[in-house]
Assembly symmetry: C2
Homo-oligomer: 488 residues x 2
């Protein structure tokens, strides 16, 4: 190290001297394949010849970017919150005006330009609590337990931050599903916590088996102190919707093994499959009676980014904490105050999501029509994706029961695997990169989410509009067949 | 520890088992005194009798909450970005429409509801770079070095995160001014970095002496590895504007001692005093010639929250990095991708701040009028605050050259200090708490920002409207005189 290059000697901050935890962070959803896709887009613009005319990004759950339209009511209210003179405009319906006034009254100086309370605007937290109560069939929710966040990402990272402690073998371990949404692994790497993997059961439609939780926990206890269990339901990247029974089993397990539960429920309205239903962890917990509902610690997360609204750019979200130690809650409140507050437009939007137009209000029918159109189109695209992918020999796709993704398994020829390894690439990265170069389709390799050794997958969103999705799926089909031929 | 109470045994997460770095975090701007102020407000609403009828919050730089009006042009553009149908509305001027169209074109699906690139929308980064070039008299700025952030807070914490490494005596130390804005101490505590204090010179109007930097650095090198130097200019809580000479000296010092510079310039338009001028670190660095401009590593921060716009709730901001190692920059880009993107409405607002109406455009005159009105009123309030406070025996206030705060020194009687100590309170906390209970005025004690041992201060924003500010100042005056009498 004493013989560094000149450049290294000059810089104070180098990869050798920077935070080593940050170096371990990986985030595949915006990883190398996406960087290459952006490059290719530029090349196309510059007139470089390619076997395709546009890049189709099916790598990220970004609904509006794929053409989904915002809910009219939401945007009307946001426009009035931004420019309150519009409150006098006849173009906007009375219920939208009422919502805008109520939000503005909750803001300092009646302006969304004021910092809010760090935990979030009080009336928004009240609306969230009432929403949770309605959703969960009357289970009580206290606005004091609601924290508004900068997207669900912020809430998840903040909760993990509180949980991380200890050194060496007593370092906090956090159980996450594999495949996982890579925010989890990234946050754990950054915090220097131990990632404890439990595998979802691909053979049974990505269900969660408590026996696998047990195995993973026992293994982990040999080298760290597992203290939290994260569940994503409906699942990303796997698209499953967990059954009520499964959730009950998980809660029992967490109670017995003394694990803090983190329930990522950002896809709670994205349930498509016949016979599937969303059950919140909170509701199931309370239905299990006081033995559980007064002891098990739970944080659950929601967001404005998914469901039928898909408003990712606003970075709205909330988390609800249940049975959190009051002193820890005080610490949490203090911690979030350092960054002052979540974005107020995002808070306003979260408010509208939990308090949308009601029957009898002027915007109700339009709202219902728009929401239904989006959700039923997503359901159609979910079915379409599964169906078409399963017509391809060598691709096996579980039903997309919910969320916004399919995570099909691809069987890759041994020769392709060897070639990938020679290049130092994960075989599914090699596959997806080739797909991108040949077709312009941008997917994320399964290795970015984790998968059982020796299996390969990709994640594809179901968000492209139906006609584009069909083209995309048929291109994937053609590519896969060519690929298999080439490497067999 | 084995004889814990029942409750502790039940909870997975307790103050004993949580992240110990988080426990060390303090953030006075929203600390106990503010919690008490909120309580008092509730008591007043419930009809509890008090010697005052309202709480006046002068504890936080939250302009809109104190009645400042937003810039019309900004809010018009934001309304159109939220609800693009307004682009067809005659009520809005063409320049506002043009800005809204340009921003929407930069968004995925032309919606501010799409995630942006993690570094920020490309056209916004271009506008920021052009703004920096104009501001700094032509010094080049590369949009690739601009990162949009969730308020300046986010940028500052992210940069500190990159810098923290090492253990024990080689743990990263970060030099911060005392008094400081407590985001810095809070972030360093959370990251487990070593806070290295250098004192501003109160006798010379809170100027920054390089000899003091030298002393602080030499002390720190005995127990940690100081790698970064943070400067807030114009200063919070101290309101000073550093001279060009001072900035040059600081840069020379950083170059010689190999320190990464972090320049917090969120108050760059808030300069009021005759003879004072804002000089960006970047500009001075480049004026010092290639020996410095091609080596010294610098990150500077700006925000939509302060200056004449005061749009805190939108959480907009940017940072510019200069001379950052390319590999570190790649790590930074990866790190920010984990949280997907800064809030897009905040990015849009940042764009308007760096690209406001130009001469000849329809909104120009209104914009200039509104900006000027706010800034000259702030200048008046800065003068007023200094003047009136200095009429009080036992209060000594430096000129408020810039930013939004006065930080006067108060001489407290020995008996008051003893009584505070008996209660386990910092004497200036005792003073401010009593002020709050007796007058409803909410200030932040100097101990929340740091001060030389044995000196006491409070921080008061200059943001209340002039008439209210006068009342506030005369109440503080009366209170101080009563307080002195009571404890003499
Ligand atoms: C499972 C899951 N959790 C959390 C998030 C974070 O979303 P946001 O921060 O936009 O709310 C996502 C985004 O895709 C997700 O899929
Ligand atoms: C010196 C300084 N830096 C940074 C900030 C953070 O502001 P924001 O995150 O709202 O941009 C503040 C806020 O008061 C400040 O005073």
């Amino acid at each position: 190290k004493s013989h560094q290059t000149n450049q290294c000697v000059c810089k104070v901050l180098t990869v050798d001297t920077m935070n080593s935890c940050v170096k371990k962070v990986e985030y595949a959803v915006r990883g190398p394949i996406v960087l290459r896709a952006v490059q290719i887009e530029k090349e196309l613009k510059e007139g470089v010849q390619k076997p395709f005319s546009e890049v189709i990004k099916a790598n990220i759950g970004d609904a509006h970017a794929m053409g989904q339209q915002p809910i009219t009511f939401f945007r009307q209210v946001l426009a009035m919150c931004s420019y309150p003179e519009l409150l006098d405009d006849d173009r906007f319906p009375e219920d939208a005006k009422g919502r805008a006034r109520r939000i503005l009254q909750g803001c300092g100086g009646q302006s969304i330009g004021a910092y809010s309370a760090s935990q979030g605007i009080e009336c928004v937290r009240q609306d969230v609590a009432r929403y949770v109560e309605r959703r969960d069939g009357g289970v009580p929710s206290d606005p004091d337990n609601i924290y508004l966040t900068t997207g669900a990402s912020d809430g998840i990272v903040t909760m993990l931050k509180l949980l991380v402690a200890g050194e060496g073998r007593s370092r906090t371990g956090v159980m996450i599903s594999i495949p996982q949404y890579p925010l989890y692994s990234a946050a754990l790497a950054e915090l220097g916590a131990v990632q404890v993997n439990y595998f979802l059961n691909e053979e049974r439609c990505w269900s969660l088996d408590v026996s696998e939780l047990r195995r993973a926990l026992a293994d982990a206890r040999r080298h760290c102190n597992p203290r939290a269990l994260c569940i994503i339901n409906p699942g990303n990247p796997t698209g499953q919707v967990q059954s009520r029974q499964c959730i009950e089993d998980v809660i029992r397990f967490a109670a017995k093994e003394r694990l803090f539960l983190m329930a990522d429920e950002v896809y709670q309205d994205n349930v498509y499959a016949e016979g599937c239903e969303f059950h919140s962890f909170k509701k199931v917990l309370f239905e299990m009676g006081p033995e559980f509902s007064s002891t098990v610690e739970l944080a659950s997360f929601h967001s404005t980014s998914k469901c039928y609204m898909g408003e990712c750019g606003f970075r709205g979200g909330y988390m609800e904490v249940v049975n959190m130690d009051p002193e820890v809650k005080a610490q949490l409140t203090k911690l979030v105050s350092v960054r002052l507050c979540p974005p107020v437009p995002g808070q306003a939007l979260m408010d509208l999501v939990v308090n949308p137009p009601q029957p009898g209000e002027p915007s109700y029918s339009t709202f219902i029509r728009e929401r239904k159109a989006t959700l039923s189109s997503l359901a159609e695209r979910a079915r379409l994706t599964e169906q078409i992918l399963n017509t391809v020999p060598g691709i096996a796709c579980n039903p997309v029961q919910g969320a916004m993704y399919s995570f099909p398994r691809v069987t890759l020829p041994a020769r392709a695997i060897r070639e990938a390894e020679e290049r130092g690439q994960a075989p599914d990265m090699f596959y997806c990169m080739k797909l991108l170069e040949e077709t312009g389709i941008c997917l994320v390799p399964g290795s970015g989410f984790g998968q059982r050794d020796g299996t390969f997958h990709f994640r594809m969103t179901i968000l492209p509009p139906t006609d584009k999705l069909k083209i995309l799926l048929s291109k994937v089909k053609d590519f896969h067949q060519r690929f298999i031929q080439q490497y067999s």
